[in-house]
Symmetry: C2
Amino acid sequence: MRPEDCDSVRALSLFKDMDAAVFGELVSAAYLQRFPAQIDLIKEGDPADFLYIVVEGSVELYGSSNGRESTMAMVRPVSTFILAASIKDAPYLMSARTLEASKLLLIPSDDIRRAFATDDKFARAIVVELASCYRAVIKSMKNLKLRTSIERVANYILRMHARAGGSDTVELQVGKRNLASMLGMTPENLSRAFGALQAHGVSVDGRQITIEDAERLARYAKPTPLIDDPRG
Amino acid sequence: MRPEDCDSVRALSLFKDMDAAVFGELVSAAYLQRFPAQIDLIKEGDPADFLYIVVEGSVELYGSSNGRESTMAMVRPVSTFILAASIKDAPYLMSARTLEASKLLLIPSDDIRRAFATDDKFARAIVVELASCYRAVIKSMKNLKLRTSIERVANYILRMHARAGGSDTVELQVGKRNLASMLGMTPENLSRAFGALQAHGVSVDGRQITIEDAERLARYAKPTPLIDDPRG
DNA sequence: GTCTCCAGTTGATGATTATCAAATTTGCTT
DNA sequence: AAGCAAATTTGATAATCATCAACTGGAGAC
């Protein structure tokens, strides 16, 4: 594991304040691996053998039932996923696959639980992390239950716009297929939603999205920090 | 606060292993209050001044946006709600109101955070609690995204059936209006869903639900522990 | 450069779900 | 027990969303 990768993991709020020796043990027990795009990493229902950290690339978390499948979240560097299952020693609730070629750090759940039991600061950092994850899912659920599909797309565009520092052109980071599933709709309807948002000053060309007037779009989308603020 | 209420709170896994003195401080700082039915307790966006514990009765957590409103969860005794906001000192993401006359324990978030900072066992108990809450929301989200409304109703009935120890008649604990919102549909469609489930051996009379053959219903509902198991 | 493949788009249609209005039942009050 | 308000059901209709099929355009293979 390269020092800069190690540093970027250590910089995560989850690990930042933990005991140096315990962190050392975690890292030495871990595997740093590269995966190609579209590789299945974990399957829901499997025992949670590892905690995963996305060092480079991106990963899709999705759920399945019957024949259906739906994206639950997309994870980009540097952050962890499936922490809850690792800690509880419970089966994964979501499957995961790489979206692109990715570098991942796999830490055995046993070691995570041991560090959790020994290191008080680590235990407290996990609390904060889980609380944030919990609140993120609640927001995502409110987004789903309280908004129409076009509103969800509109608010997604506004969030990208904010993340890009207010630039009036933003670039989609994920394929429209994945985005559609993430937003709880079909790819066809995502296309049509983009079309419908032309009426609110949005134009889409490939993965380039141009926002004519963010204020105007916001008047339609009606964003609220209680759903759309990635922090808090 | 009556000793039996105190004991039932202490028995929660969140508090069970915590230091007796710290627990004593928490309880002495807390307010035990009775509320009538349909009383607004908290409003989303407000600062998280208290952690709530439902001692008796039941509470609805709901989100709103635009003019819409949707039930996110229903909390029954004895359990806590809005722990994540209390710990993070962040605004509530959900509003709460009593569903029936209820007895609630309100613990100031400041005291919760102080106890979290001092008591290592409490900090670890919070981790387990938050991990469980997180997984519960993920399940709820999978339920929403991966199932039709009739399937959600069918699986809800199966869960009640299991909770009632396999009895072939179960009683609805909540009004159909609330249940509909919880399951992400309108009251009208819940009615029709019950009607549609007659074809799978379910008959509904008021709040009494009779399941002719749970196996048969399960063949339609296709429950999975990764969505429907309340534990894990 | 041309071909192929695949993601994305578009159009037509069907299923699901929401909305509105009215009828009916239920539960509670007097 | 009668009367009233609220909850639920039912029916008719409309909006939303999914599905299927056909088409388009661009990226990579050869």
